[in-house]
């Protein structure tokens, strides 16, 4: 029984949940978004700071379950310091993993700690938890880009 649970709650996920990286809202930022999961009420406020085509910072304040909190921490680790295009393609890769119903083999080179979420894809009710912060980041990044164009 706990094998099934262990495939969901990988050690990496529990570590990020207990000690989230990059948490807290910081300045400067170009866009701030607030996303909620209407079924459970989990929520996140997330800020993005872009400069010279690079994700300079992602800061956030969030409330939610182990999966959503760990996913936010891993996402911030992965995208901070990356060119926006590369960060977007990591986002695509993570999205494909989550929507793959457990059939997608994760690429550790690209997703690093994010591969720990492969097991989440087999729990349809939890996929939304894992994606909450990634969707918020994509939204905030798109707004930041519009801001800089505008």
């Amino acid at each position: 029984m706990s094998a099934e649970l262990d495939s969901l709650y990988q050690e990496i996920i529990l570590d990020h949940y207990k000690n989230p990286h990059h948490k807290g809202l910081r300045e400067p930022f170009e866009a701030e978004v607030h996303h909620v999961n209407p079924t459970c009420g989990d929520e996140i406020t997330l800020r993005v700071h872009l400069a010279d085509g690079v994700v300079q910072d992602v800061s956030y304040d969030s409330l939610g379950c182990s999966i959503s909190q760990a996913s936010t921490s891993v996402m911030a680790d992965l995208v901070i310091g990356k060119p926006v295009d590369e960060a977007m393609s990591i986002h695509e890769e993570f999205l494909a993993l989550m929507q793959g119903k457990g059939t997608v083999e994760p690429d550790e080179e690209v997703l690093e700690d994010g591969i720990a979420f492969a097991g989440v894809a087999k729990f349809p009710a939890r996929v939304k938890c894992a994606l909450l912060s990634w969707m918020a980041w994509k939204d905030a990044t798109a707004r930041s880009l519009e801001e800089s164009r505008g």
Partner: protein
């Protein structure tokens, strides 16, 4: 254990789903009945029999099957009327669910008639409502210019009745509240609040979605001054099917409200220059109604009536008392709502320090224990306790003490799984 249904094992056999197993051959421990109840074989059989032998549209098909279908549908109404002790069977209106019943009232109060709610009027609700008894009234307030006011509740989960004089005044047109809270489990003093509301001429609308499954309701036996004007509940929480809800209203009030949806069945005559409407209940039942669902609901309330609502209520209290004791033995667990089983229904929401409700329900699910996690469509009530969400266990007439033991064991296992000690 005192209060348990004496034939509990026999009753469990009436519910075929309780025999199924889940992944790894684990037995199902279904503790999500406040969300939806399971269905006894007699309800399933009544619906299948209707579809196999009596299916036709109602009230318009002039053939033999049409007559049989109409009779079965209207018999469903008679059974529901008997279940709640309605003074008249014509006061029972079938809707899609409890939400539609509440929306019917909140919308028609905006449109026309002596009960019309307008600018400067006050509508009173409570902080412990389900979203379906909040949002329709927010929409009414927004559209009418009326003011929406709220009863708060105490730390123990009881309505703060010290606000009665301030909230229920000459300006108050509607007082709406839940009979039993779906999140806190609290049983509210419906008679007392109704009496106060009626003193100022306000209409009383009660959400009975959690009360109808658990409390004996006898509207006809309530003194008129203490009887709500309208009550709403849903079929699927009283061991009936989804797709059907009930609005009961006193004849006087239902006749004062304008029709809700327009269409077939709700008319008297239709001319191009205008139409006249049918009397109650059909005035509020436009279009083909949920026919087989009414048959199923009739069988469901007959079943509950045969077991006996007094006995079901006693069973719920015994199981709830046992569950509250077991839960309080779990380290870091806080119950959100009254701790006295006699003052509450069978839905118990709780939080465990250091654990998110999603994670609790996930681990419980792997052990075959089905509970609900989230805000249970009651965000304002959660905000009142300063929490974002909670886990909720809810029992029913088929719940056994052994299932409560399995639930409490699973909670302790969850704490150890997440290494909280």
């Amino acid at each position: 254990m005192k209060g348990l249904l004496p034939d509990l094992e026999v009753i469990r056999k009436d519910f075929p789903i309780l025999e199924r197993t889940l992944a790894d051959g684990r037995p199902l421990v279904y503790l999500d009945s406040a969300n939806t109840s399971q269905k006894p074989q007699c309800v399933i059989d009544a619906m299948v029999d209707h579809l196999e032998h009596h299916n036709a549209n109602v009230a318009r098909a002039m053939h033999q099957l049409g007559a049989e279908a109409s009779e079965a549908f209207e018999a469903g109404r008679d059974k529901v009327a008997a279940f709640i002790g309605a003074p008249s069977r014509d006061e029972v209106i079938f809707t899609k669910n409890a939400s539609e019943a509440l929306n019917l009232v909140a919308n028609t109060l905006l449109w026309a008639g002596p009960r019309r709610v307008g600018e400067g009027d006050v509508v009173v609700t409570t902080e412990m409502e389900h979203h379906s008894n909040i949002v329709p009234w927010q929409m009414l307030a927004e559209r009418s210019g009326a003011e929406l006011k709220w009863f708060t509740f105490t730390d123990e989960g009881h309505l703060d009745l010290s606000q009665v004089d301030e909230l229920i005044t000459e300006r108050t047109k509607v007082v709406t509240l839940t009979w039993v809270s779906n999140m806190l489990g609290t049983i509210n003093p419906i008679a007392e609040i109704t009496r106060r509301a009626h003193e100022v001429g306000a209409l009383v609308v009660v959400d009975a979605s959690q009360a109808a499954p658990q409390l004996p309701i006898d509207l006809g036996a309530m003194p008129e001054a203490e009887r709500p004007d309208l009550i709403a509940f849903t079929g699927h929480k009283v061991v009936g099917p989804t797709g059907i809800g009930v609005l009961w209203g006193s004849r006087e009030v239902l006749e004062q409200l304008p029709p809700f949806l327009g269409g077939g069945e709700m008319i008297e005559t239709v001319r191009m220059e205008g139409s006249t409407y049918a009397g109650i209940p059909h005035k509020f039942e436009a279009g083909t109604p949920p026919i087989v669902e009414a048959v199923g609901l009739g069988a469901a309330v007959d079943y509950l009536g045969a077991v006996g609502m007094e006995a079901i209520h006693a069973h719920e209290q015994a199981i709830t008392r046992y569950a509250l004791e077991g839960m309080q033995s779990v380290k870091g667990l806080r119950v959100l709502g009254p701790l006295d089983a006699t003052q509450r229904g069978g839905a118990v929401s709780f939080e465990i320090e250091g654990l998110h409700p999603h994670d609790v329900s996930q681990v419980l699910d792997v052990r075959g224990v089905a509970v609900r996690a989230g805000h249970h469509c009651a965000r304002p009530a959660h905000a009142r306790f300063g929490v974002q969400s909670s886990t909720r266990m809810s029992s029913y007439l088929y719940t056994t003490p052994a299932e409560i033991d399995a639930f409490v064991d699973a909670l302790n296992y969850t704490r150890s799984y997440f290494k909280l000690d």
